[in-house]
């Protein structure tokens, strides 16, 4: 059942050096994000498109904590360099796959991809109800997304921090993408 696959996802994702937090409700999710940010004494964050209630709530809390927020719509003229001073990127996952430990993001704007691709820390938030069990099951939401978007559209699977083993087969995190990733699952 859903609780099982959420647990399965957590185990798999953590084995890939990702950090998983389970929370109840939007407010707790916002609190969790803020806690992570405070812990790192973050000054500047970037946000992708977030669901209304969660996004508003988060913006409020971040403002109260004196954090600068870089959010959509992004101005092409200042991209990509505006991201260089961003320490943490926060985005929303459309769904996640328990079997492989991947979260999946949909976007039709590449600037949103930069939110999870450039900063050293990435936090993604999702609803437990959007967890699916197997990779095969991902075909349906992907197909639907591409049918709904007949022109440009990108699907991004992310399974933990960026990594390489190209030097002496040693595993190193944070090569070009984030070195630290958090997934917050709202039960």
């Amino acid at each position: 059942m859903n609780a099982n696959i959420v647990r399965q996802f957590q185990e798999k994702h953590e084995s890939l050096a990702g950090i998983v937090h389970q929370v109840s409700g939007t407010n707790e999710a916002v609190e969790k994000v803020v806690a992570i940010l405070q812990d790192k004494t973050v000054e500047k964050i970037a946000m992708a498109i977030l669901p209304e209630e969660f996004g508003r709530n988060l913006e409020q809390q971040c403002a109260q904590n004196g954090m600068e927020m870089f959010k959509p719509p992004f101005d092409n003229a200042v991209l990509p360099n505006a991201f260089e001073s961003i320490q943490v990127g926060i985005s929303w996952a459309a769904f996640a796959i328990a079997e492989t430990g991947a979260i999946v993001e949909f976007s039709t704007d590449d600037a949103l991809r930069l939110v999870s691709a450039l900063p050293l820390v990435h936090i993604s938030v999702m609803r437990a109800a959007d967890m699916i069990g197997t990779l095969k099951e991902a075909a349906t939401p992907i197909r639907n997304f591409y049918n709904e978007n007949s022109l440009n559209a990108t699907v991004s699977f992310i399974s933990g921090p960026s990594r390489t083993a190209d030097i002496e087969m040693r595993l190193i995190l944070g090569v070009h993408g984030p070195a630290e990733t958090h997934v917050i699952i709202i039960n």
Binding site: P80, D109, D110, A117, A139, A153, S162, I167, V175, H176
Partner: protein, 704 residues
């Protein structure tokens, strides 16, 4: 004619054998690749079954490749990206140069693309004044030192941390310590400005989805996300064979590729891209474009070539490289041109030319392991034989290969002239001459010939009277059991008879595998036809075929149907052929027997012959011996013992020397195991293991 490719190959092998640290690094990388793959595949619900599914999908898409290319191109265009069908490397490069000129491009960032390396695109771009930066760390490292990749997935595996630190000290001017983490941080700083300021971002595509007009790009580092999003111009170079039909097909490939390559379920980042998305809002977006270059460069020719077609099913995982015994010793600089390793041989022959493939094709010793690990179940060994065969029209088979292909003729003569022949085989002078003029290493202790072959003994004895036979067996002896160890052959026959089988020895010749191994497919086919014709006569009457020689069983079950295009007779013979102990197990399951523990107290190390990996991997033999009380442990290095049939008998680099280097880890494993003796069913592995470990080597029948 100019200097022989074989001479050049010997020199390359010699050089590689001298580079011990590179070899060790490669061995570690390959072993880890194999082990991680094993761990990950064992966790899949269907285990190895995924390979069969991948093959089905690939074959379906191969059958409609042209249609899929058209469908994909149309969908891509509908999404607003450009499509260019490049017939060859030049066309692709010209197209990209044109874009570069039109956009006055200065910086090109690249994520890893083997197809871009296939067409060697970097140099022309640099000549045209663009700075090209590989952003995949392994590729970046070798780009900095102007080397070719040593391994497909880990191109810089031969470089130590100290090497890499030095490379980036030079590139950045920073004082970087010899520490992997510090190097990584320096690399991140070094490449960042390139990511941010690139004019063109060039990617490959692991898969193209025809249904959606979408490409899939896999990375672990996240570099492809930056290469495909930031620059105004995105260029993708992909082979036309990468296109599959549906999302489901694509997801299958997205799993099969990293699991086979490195034992990961998925790569850290999988990017499915359709069309060209804007970067934020604003006028700058009007200049953003995406070009998908679908490359032919020999692929549509391959599609028409019944022997090379199978290579189009390759998903570039390099699992074949991780298990290839000779690649594991010499690496990608000797064993490759641009595409290295086993699958690199048919690919090089098809897209870079037969001569280039001929430069390293004979590094393949036809052990067959690549086929057993390939996620698309590609019959790589047979394609390599075809390349060797075709290449032999450009450069004749070396004498030693020709002599070994005619092994049965030599065995016949050896038996006919025994014991004089055996005296000669032990005579130093004779062996020195044989080494000099034929090319067989004089150090190799060859099994003696017996005057009365198994066939002759059988003739003399006649088929024994078995009343109410439970089974009827046509015994296939192959060379060793016929000419060198007829007592073993007879013991095998008698054991079957004691279990109620009527046993015949039909007219036959040795299985002929050396013709396949060295690449004379015409002769191989002839032997196959003759043997199948003779054996089919018996299978049609309900006889089973049993052999004590693993390679012969492999040949009958796997190679002959391929050589004879799946003829009914070949398939029948294949279906009715059994390994010896597999057959005994079946007999005993039907009529249980003799379970006295007369082997109790013995510890043996079991060696699985490579060709057995496609059959039962020795499981039946081990079970049989265990039931008689023996303690058996499989000792393996994960790859070949190095003998590879007759390969290890040959003098020189492309023979004995390479064979010893391949076998080293296995010899050590056996010596370390503390086992009293080695058991193997292969007559040739026996020679290698005896000499390499100093331990006694038994055929299981010798114990019983």
């Amino acid at each position: 004619m100019s200097e022989s490719a074989f001479t050049r190959l010997h020199a390359k092998i010699e050089k590689a054998l001298g580079e011990k640290s590179k070899r060790d690094a490669l061995y570690t990388a390959m072993k880890r690749g194999r082990d991680n793959r094993r761990k990950a595949v064992d966790l899949l619900p269907g285990g190895e079954g995924f390979r069969k599914e991948v093959r089905q999908t690939k074959l379906r898409c191969l059958a409609k490749q042209d249609e899929l290319v058209d469908r994909f191109a149309e969908k891509v265009r509908q999404r607003g990206a450009s499509v260019f069908l490049a017939k060859d490397a030049k066309a692709a490069i010209d197209y990209i140069l044109k874009i570069g000129r039109e956009r006055d491009a200065k910086i090109v960032t690249k994520s890893k693309s083997l197809t871009s390396e296939e067409i060697e695109v970097n140099q022309p771009l640099e000549k045209a004044g663009m700075e090209v930066i590989e952003t995949d760390l392994g590729e970046l490292i070798i780009q900095q030192v102007h080397e070719k990749p040593f391994h497909l997935v880990f191109p810089a595996v031969h470089k130590t941390v100290a090497d890499v630190a030095e490379i980036f000290r030079k590139a950045t001017g920073e004082d970087i310590p010899d520490d992997a983490d510090a190097v990584m941080k320096a690399v991140r700083r070094f490449v960042r400005p390139y990511f941010l300021n690139a004019d063109i971002g060039m990617t490959g595509a692991n898969v193209g989805i025809a249904e959606l007009g979408v490409i899939v790009i896999e990375t672990n580092e996240g570099n492809a996300r930056l290469v495909s999003s930031i620059p105004e111009v995105h260029v993708c170079i992909m082979g036309r064979e990468k296109i599959v039909e549906t999302v489901e097909d694509a997801l299958q490939m997205m799993l099969a590729h990293p699991i086979s390559a490195v034992g990961q379920h998925l790569t850290t980042y999988e990017t499915l891209m359709g069309g060209r998305s804007p970067l934020g809002q604003g006028e700058g977006n009007s200049r953003r474009e995406s070009h998908i270059i679908i490359l032919d460069n020999g692929r549509s020719q391959m599609l028409k070539d019944p022997l090379m077609q199978d290579a189009l099913n390759c998903i570039r995982c390099a699992a074949c490289m991780n298990i290839c015994p000779t690649y594991g010793v010499v690496g990608g600089h000797a064993f490759g041109y641009i595409y290295p390793g086993p699958i690199g041989i048919p690919w090089t022959a098809s897209v870079h030319g037969l001569e280039k493939a001929g430069e390293f094709a004979h590094l393949c010793v036809s052990c067959g392991l690549c086929k057993e690990i390939c996620p698309a179940e590609i019959d790589i060994p047979m394609m390599i034989s075809a390349v060797k065969d075709r290449y032999s029209k450009l450069e004749k088979h070396p004498l030693v290969n020709r002599a070994l292909m005619a092994a049965e003729t030599m065995a016949k003569m050896g038996s006919a002239t025994a014991p004089v022949s055996n005296w000669a085989m032990k005579n130093q002078f004779f062996r020195a001459q044989m080494e000099k003029y034929v090319g067989i290493d004089s150090r190799r202790e060859l099994p003696p010939f017996r005057r009365r072959t198994l066939a002759q003994r059988f003739d003399k004895r006649g088929a024994s009277q078995v009343s109410h036979p439970v089974r009827r067996v046509a015994f296939f002896a192959d060379i060793y059991a016929n000419y060198n160890a007829p007592e073993l052959g007879m013991a095998a026959v008698e054991r079957l008879e004691s279990r109620g089988c009527k046993v015949l020895m039909p007219p036959q010749q040795g299985c002929g595998y050396p013709y396949i191994g060295y690449g004379d497919l015409q002769r191989a086919k002839k032997v196959a036809e003759e043997n199948v014709s003779s054996l089919a006569y018996y299978t049609e009457q309900g006889y089973d075929i049993v052999s004590t020689e693993p390679t012969a069983v492999y040949c009958l079950k796997v190679s002959y149907p391929k050589l004879l295009n799946g003829s009914r007779a070949a398939v029948d013979v294949a279906n009715r052929t059994y390994e010896y102990f597999e057959y005994l197990e079946r007999l005993e399951a039907e009529t249980p027997r003799d379970n006295r523990l007369h082997l109790a107290g013995n510890h043996f190390g079991f060696h699985i012959a490579c060709h057995q990996r496609a059959l039962g991997a020795g499981a039946h033999t081990i079970a049989y011996l265990k039931r008689r009380g023996a303690e058996i442990e499989v000792i393996e290095s994960g790859t070949c013992c190095g003998m590879a049939g007759t390969f290890g008998l040959k003098k020189g680099m492309l023979g004995y020397e390479l064979s010893q280097a391949v076998g080293e880890p296995l010899f050590q494993a056996f010596k370390d195991s503390g086992m009293q003796a080695i058991i193997t069913e292969s007559s040739v592995c026996k020679i290698q293991l005896q000499e390499g470990t100093g331990l006694k080597v038994w055929h299981p029948l010798e114990l019983l």
